[in-house]
Symmetry: C2
Subunit: 322 residues, 2 copies
C-alpha cells in the first residue's frame, strides 16, 4: 500500500490511534504543540537524535521494527544517563517515495513497543517525504526530581569508575555485518535492540550514588573521556576488569574493541570509594552486573592499565565528520 | 574550510560558544540531556519539525542564513499558536560531505539570531553527516501558565473567525520562485523570514480571548479546516474581508492563492462575538492588523462567501504524500 493513499494526515491519525496518551498530557497529538504537566518539583530533561539511512543504519543490515526500537532506545538511554524518568516521545519521519504503509507500520510497531517498555508516550512529531532515504529525528523528554539529575561534570579524584552490563557486544556485531558475516541472535540483539538502563539510572540518582554518569554511545574510552574533560580530572582503568560477555569472548571479541567500540548503551558512572559497597546489592536488585573498572585521579588523561603494566591504546570513538 | 578539520565535537563547541544559556537552564549543551526548570505552575509545550533539502527548501532559492531563521521561526510559531512563551531550542543537523564551516556558520547565525529575537536559548541537538542534502530537525519547547494554552478544539457557533497580518504573500513568492522570477525584497521576506506571532499568541491566551487558535502553515482554508474538524463545527468566511497586502495585490496575487497558499505563519483564531470589540485595541497595541473574516456555525464544513453570493473554492492545503 502506497503512503499516498493514506496521506500525511491519515498517517498521523494512524499513529495516534495506536498511542496511549501520557497521564501527564493536557493535549496530545493533533494540535500545534503537545501540552504536558510535569510532576511537581521535577526538572525537564530533553534529548534529540538524528538517524539517517546510509549514515547511521543500512536497511539491509536492520529490519524496520528493530530500527524503530533502537531509535527510541538510544534517546531513552540519554534520559537514563541523567538519572531521569523518560516520559514523552516526538518522532520526525522523512520517508522516501517508495516507502509503503507496511514499512511505516513495522517501524511504528517497534518504536511504540519500545516506548511502552519504558513508559514513554508518543506525543507528537512530523512526517514528510524524503528525496533520498529514511530520515528519523527523535526527541525524548523526561524529568527528575530537582537536584537529582546526574551530569558528566561531578567526578572527583578517588571516585570509582563503574560500568553496567558488558562492553563491545554491539561493536562486534557491527564489525561482522561489515564483513557480511551473521551473528548468533542474542549477541545480534545487543546491536539491533540495545537496552536503555532506566532503572539503574534512576536508582543511582535517587540514592545520590553516582557523582557523574554517561551512556556508552561513542565507546568506553571516548565516553569516559567526556566525563574526564567535563569533570577536569583523569582516570586509571584496569583492562582486565572490563566486563566482557561470554558470547563476546567466544566470538573472538578483543579488549581493544570493548574499549573503543560504540553503541553499547550501558551506563558508565563514577561513585565515591566509600560507597562502593552499595554496588553489589544494587546489581542484585536490578539483575544487572555493575563492574568497578578503575578510579578517578587528579592528573588529566585516561590511563589504560594492562595486567602486565602500563600501555596506551587508541582512544578513538565515533566522530561524525572526523 | 572543511567540516572534517573541525570534527563533530569541534562543531558542537563552536555552536555552544555562541549561545547564551537560558536563565531556566540547570545544565545546557554538552551533557546527555539538557536540564531545565519550568517557571512555577507552567505547563510544557513542545513542537518538532523536519526540514529536508529538495523537499522543504532548495539551496538555490534560499540562502543558509534565511534557512536558519525560518527553521527556528516556524517552530516558534507553533508555540505562539498555543499562546505559549518559546524557551528552549534543539537543533539536529545532517550535513553533506561538501558542507563547509562557513555554510554551517551562516545557518547558525540565522538560527541563533532568530532564537534571540524570540528569547529562545539553544539548549542541545545532534550533528552528523548526511549522505544526501541538508537535513534539519528542530524541536522547540515553550511553556504557558496552567490553563492558558489555546488548542484547536474550542471554537463554538457564533464565534468570530479572525486572522493576523496578511494572507498569501509567502505563497506568491514561492509561485514566482517556481517560475524563476524574482520578487521585491519586502514581499520576499514574507517567504524567507516569516514572522512568529508570539506577542499576539501570548496576549490572546492571557486575556482568555481566543477560543481556538492555529498558525497558518498549510494554508488558510486547510488550517481553518483543522480547527473546524477538532471543534466539531463549520464556518462561513467572507472572501472580500480577507486581509491582502498592497504588495500582494500589486504583484497580481489572487484571493484563491490567499485562501489556499501555505506558510504565512500568521495566527488564525476564533473569539466570542461579545468580545470582538477588544480586537482593535489589541491590534493597535501590537501594531499588527487583526481582521475578522467570518463566523463559526454549527453546520460542518467551510463556506467561502464571495460578495456576489456563495461559491466553493478548492480547500486544498499542503499534504505530504498527497
Amino acid at each position: 500500500v502506497k503512503l499516498s493513499s493514506l496521506g500525511e494526515f491519515g498517517l498521523i491519525d494512524r499513529l495516534r490511534r495506536r498511542t496511549t496518551p501520557s497521564p501527564l498530557a493536557v493535549r496530545g497529538i493533533g494540535d500545534d504543540c503537545a501540552q504536558h504537566r510535569l510532576p511537581p518539583d521535577e526538572e525537564l530533561l530533553t534529548t534529540m537524535d538524528l538517524l539517517l539511512e546510509g549514515v547511521h543504519f543500512r536497511r539491509d543490515w536492520t529490519d524496520l521494527e528493530h530500527l524503530g526500537r533502537k531509535s527510541v532506545a538510544v534517546n531513552v538511554s540519554d534520559i537514563a544517563a541523567m538519572g531521569g524518568t523518560p516520559r514523552f516521545l516526538y518522532l520526525g519521519l522523512g520517508l522516501p517515495a517508495t516507502a509503503t504503509v507496511e514499512e511505516v507500520d513495522a517501524f511504528a510497531a517497534g518504536a511504540l513497543a519500545e516506548a511502552e517498555r519504558y513508559g514513554v508516550a508518543l506525543a507528537g512529531g512530523d512526517t514528510c517525504r524524503s528525496a533520498s532515504g529514511w530520515v528519523i529525528a527523535v526527541t525524548v523528554e523526561g524529568s527528575a526530581p530537582a537536584g537529582q539529575a546526574v551530569g558528566r561534570d561531578g567526578a572527583r579524584p578517588g571516585d570509582i569508575v563503574c560500568v553496567s552490563g558488558s562492553l563491545g557486544d554491539s561493536a562486534l556485531v557491527l564489525q561482522r555485518l561489515q564483513r557480511n558475516e551473521s551473528m548468533s541472535s542474542p549477541l545480534a540483539q545487543r546491536h539491533h535492540a540495545p537496552p536503555a538502563r532506566v532503572a539503574l539510572g534512576r536508582a543511582l540518582a535517587q540514592a545520590g550514588l553516582a557523582t557523574a554518569m554517561i551512556d556508552l554511545s561513542d565507546g568506553f574510552a571516548a565516553d569516559l573521556g567526556h566525563i574526564l574533560e567535563q569533570s577536569g580530572c583523569g582516570a586509571e582503568v584496569e583492562l582486565d576488569q572490563l566486563p566482557l560477555s561470554a558470547a563476546f569472548r567466544a566470538a573472538g571479541g578483543t579488549v581493544e574493541l570493548a574499549v573503543t567500540g560504540g553503541e553499547d548503551y550501558e551506563l558508565l558512572f563514577t561513585l565515591p570509594a566509600a560507597r562502593q559497597g552499595e554496588l553489589s546489592g544494587l546489581a542484585q536488585r536490578l539483575n544487572l552486573p555493575l563492574t568497578p573498572v578503575g578510579r578517578i585521579v587528579a592528573a588529566p588523561g585516561l590511563q589504560l592499565l594492562a595486567a602486565d603494566g602500563r600501555r596506551a591504546l587508541p582512544q578513538g570513538g565515533f566522530n561524525h565528520f572526523g
